[in-house]
Subunit: 131 residues, 2 copies
C-alpha cells in the first residue's frame, strides 16, 4: 500500500528552521544528511510518524519565491488557546484565532503562524474531522 | 501533543485532481466542503491518517505559480518497480527510477511523477529510514 510519509520544503538556514520547528511544534530531527551541495533533514512527528523534510542548498542566499500554489502544513492540538499563548510567549507571533462554519455548524477553529522562511503553518483545534 | 495532520495545495480542477490522486495513489475523499468562493477536499491516506487538503478557488483560471520553495509530497511503497509499471500503464508517466547513496551506502530508491497541476510527487521504496 502507498503511504504518505513526508512533505519537503526548501529553507535558507537549516539550523534556524530546525530550532523553530522544535520549539514551536515539538518536531525532532530523525536524520540529517550532508550531501554534495545540499543538506537534508527529516523532522519527525511522534503522533503519526509523518515527517517534514527540509532541504538547504549550499550557497543559496536569496529567499525562495513561494509562488501561490503551496498552501500550508497543518497541526492539530487539544488546547488551541494554550498553544496560541505558548507560541506568543515564545515570540513566534501567532495570528488571531479564527473559526470556520459549514452549513450553519462549526467546522474548524484555528490560527496561522509563519515559519522563518515565511511558510504558513495552521494550528487546528482537535475535534470533529480534525483528529 | 501537536500532530501533523495535513498539507494543503491549491489546484485548478478539483475533480481532475481527486481522480488523479485516487487512481495514482489510492487516496479517498474523506470530506468535501463547498464554501463561498472556494471548495475544500480532504484526501485521506489509510496508512497513517495524514491528509492532502486540496483547495479550489472558484473563478480561478490561471495556473498557480509554483515558485521554488515547495518541494514535494512523498509516498512509500513496498514495490517500487510494480508501482512504476502500474503508473506507466495508467498513463501517469513516472520518471526514471533513481537512487541516492550516503556515506557509500544506499539511502533511497525513488522516482518522481507530476500531478495535474504540476506538483511533484516522490515515490520511495520502503526500507531503511523510509517507512
Amino acid at each position: 500500500m502507498l503511504k504518505m510519509i513526508h512533505t519537503m520544503l526548501r529553507v535558507l538556514d537549516l539550523d534556524r528552521s530546525i530550532a523553530f520547528y522544535r520549539n514551536a511544534f515539538g518536531l525532532d530531527v530523525a536524520d540529517r544528511y550532508e550531501m554534495e551541495g545540499f543538506t537534508l533533514a527529516y523532522l519527525r512527528n511522534a503522533g503519526n510518524g509523518f515527517e517534514l523534510e527540509l532541504t538547504t542548498n549550499r550557497g543559496r542566499e536569496d529567499p525562495y519565491p513561494h509562488g501561490e500554489g503551496y498552501g500550508h502544513l497543518a497541526f492539530s492540538t487539544d488546547d488551541l488557546e494554550g498553544e496560541h499563548e505558548r507560541l506568543t510567549m515564545a515570540g513566534v507571533a501567532p495570528r488571531d484565532i479564527k473559526s470556520l462554519a459549514y452549513g450553519g455548524r462549526p467546522l474548524a477553529r484555528f490560527f496561522f503562524v509563519s515559519d522563518p522562511d515565511g511558510y504558513q503553518i495552521e494550528v487546528l483545534e482537535r475535534g470533529g474531522r480534525y483528529a
